[in-house]
Symmetry: C2
Subunit: 367 residues, 2 copies
């Protein structure tokens, strides 16, 4: 794991939904913007499955810009001239927070001895970080995709802790299709002999399996129309620059094949396969209603926050129907909520991409 | 490969779109019902990606009923009391027709020395079979999914050869998303060390990779609503019969996980991984317009057949928009065509399942 800029070792054991505890868990995090003397201007940003704490600063492994630089920064919709942004790496991940790649008691990586965690466990880690930072109430908690699940979990389980909850392109529970796609990815990783029951840190990682998992997942992040517009059936240009042609072989003839292979192999350079297993499991376990007696409205009974829910019309991973289901529950709980379905061509990934209407919603809601 | 009931060795070399020929290609096929003395009552049924010639008779490997027994048989919509049904195994497949598992000149399986084929090549094999059987004109050609592609290819490239063309849950070209899902499957197979560049026939097959490929594909065959209705977030009952619970591990906790694993592993017992590579490639190459100067209507300019196009509202693999595109082209070509979108909850697989409205359409169209 790369050295994290900021690392907090939690003073107390972190209890987990699975029954165990994490002793001396570490939370890696980044902050942007000044914290007001009264600590009233903090915004917690929660990252998605393969995200990290580098929301608005260069990624130390890839050197690429932060994953939400277009949204977070001075003068941006999440304005770091006004807000103090905190973005932790979730536990179970691999960018500095405690996860399966972290050393166990004997110094070797925990690997599959790391306990299975939940979305609520991730938030419990973030709450412990806020406690350590002395931040009583957040101005807001913001997240897209799995980040949105964390935002909802925080609102439901730590009522009063956030004044505003902004959940983007997300769901209150993983559907059968969501679980199915994740299971394909996990099986791809576990089928790779390099995975070796999770014990690969001293040798070759299961890069081929992880790449296949990423490829399958990546299709679900894009819309069919977006794929057609971006690639259609265009053939890959040849190495000598001439126009592409069918090879009548198994090379990446189509641009979309080449793109997917690139997405898959690039991902393996920055992400830990065991983390992928643990985090997808946490997402599959996510069902906010189930945590609260089977009734989603109960989850938000005492939330005491304002909510904003955003979906995208081309998102088929967490389609608008999931947001509508969530909004009905918030309404039933009497929570103040605004809800908007934005039109954007990029599918689920729209929350990360150029969608000016989203900028206006985020800036307006955070006030 | 299991012994095929009926096997024809083609007397002439079979020319291929990729430029080569298949010498002494074999076509395995099944027939059902009597051929009329004037040979006017023949119906060609084309199978889908993982289908075979056992459309209405028990599968010799699995012992399961034919894949379309509900549609084909005495008194069924494709009535074998009246029609002579011919169903060939496509070349490239693994149920008796020449494919990558077939022996090459030195007796060893061809493996990746088998040439890359196209949908039109598959139909060329079927046409050679019809020639050998002395069948000049088909009463009809019928197919769902890849079978529909073959039916359309036959109509476009062998005008007059079929009087009726029934294309169900299919498309005139593979989309970027279709290609992307297939590429994930191919990469999963090729990532399995057991694949060994295709040379696995003497040893262990790439079962793990093929199972992952099948799992990913299987999700695309079902609708999200269908998955939710069938599985939702239901947990798998324990081995002792007690109600399921989250294991906080990586077992198949959810029924949908268990179902997918079962689909994946079962498939590897009856299908050849190299065939999966070749057939998915043929489907990805399929673009009927491209074969005919870029204009789909041109493909059907001289077809001289009646067409019936059927889509399902829950099919997101080949959605109704693809059928509509096809029907527009048929209209532009002046071909007589009827088009219906049926409502069915099962997604793409609806063409194989209990959809009484489809039975009526098939029976009515075949007359």
């Amino acid at each position: 794991m790369p050295a994290a800029h900021n690392l907090l070792t939690l003073p107390d054991p972190l209890p987990l939904d699975g029954g165990g505890v994490l002793e001396r868990a570490e939370i890696a995090f980044e902050t942007y913007g000044e914290l007001a003397p009264d600590k009233s201007n903090a915004i917690l940003i929660c990252h998605a499955l393969t995200g990290d704490q580098y929301v608005a600063g260069a990624h130390p492994v890839t050197g690429k810009p932060g994953w939400w630089e277009r949204m977070v920064g001075p003068g941006k919709p999440v304005d770091t001239d006004r807000f103090h942004v905190i973005c932790p790496n979730v536990i179970g991940s691999c960018m500095g927070s405690t996860g399966p790649a972290s050393p166990g008691p004997n110094g070797a990586p925990l690997a599959m001895r790391f306990p299975v965690i939940t979305i609520r466990d991730m938030v419990r880690g973030a709450i412990a970080l806020l406690d350590a930072l002395g931040i009583e109430q957040l101005h807001g908690v913001v997240g897209g995709s799995m980040g949105g699940m964390q935002a909802l979990s925080l609102a439901a389980n730590w009522p009063g802790r956030a004044a505003r909850v902004l959940a983007i392109a997300t769901t209150a529970r993983h559907s059968a299709q969501n679980i199915a796609f994740h299971e394909v990815g996990r099986q791809a990783i576990m089928a790779d002999p390099g995975w070796n029951g999770g014990e690969y840190y001293a040798g070759a990682a299961p890069a081929a399996g992880l790449a296949v998992a990423r490829m399958a997942a990546h299709i679900t992040y894009l819309s069919e129309d977006g794929l057609t517009e971006k690639f259609g059936r265009n053939l890959q240009a040849k190495a000598d620059g001439t126009a592409g042609a069918k090879s009548f072989g198994f090379d990446a003839d189509f641009q979309v094949e080449s793109y997917l292979r690139h997405q898959g192999s690039g991902f393996t350079k920055r992400f830990d396969a065991n983390s992928y297993l643990y985090i997808t499991r946490a997402m599959d376990y996510f069902d906010l209603a189930e945590e609260h007696g089977g009734l989603l409205a109960e989850a938000f009974a005492g939330a005491g926050a304002r909510f904003c829910v955003v979906s995208f019309d081309s998102d088929w991973l967490y389609p608008t129907a999931e947001s509508r289901h969530l909004v009905h529950a918030l309404n039933a709980a009497g929570a103040p909520v605004s809800f908007v379905e934005l039109s954007a061509p990029h599918g689920h990934d729209s929350f990360l991409l150029e969608v000016p209407a989203l900028d206006r919603v985020v800036a307006g809601f955070l006030g």
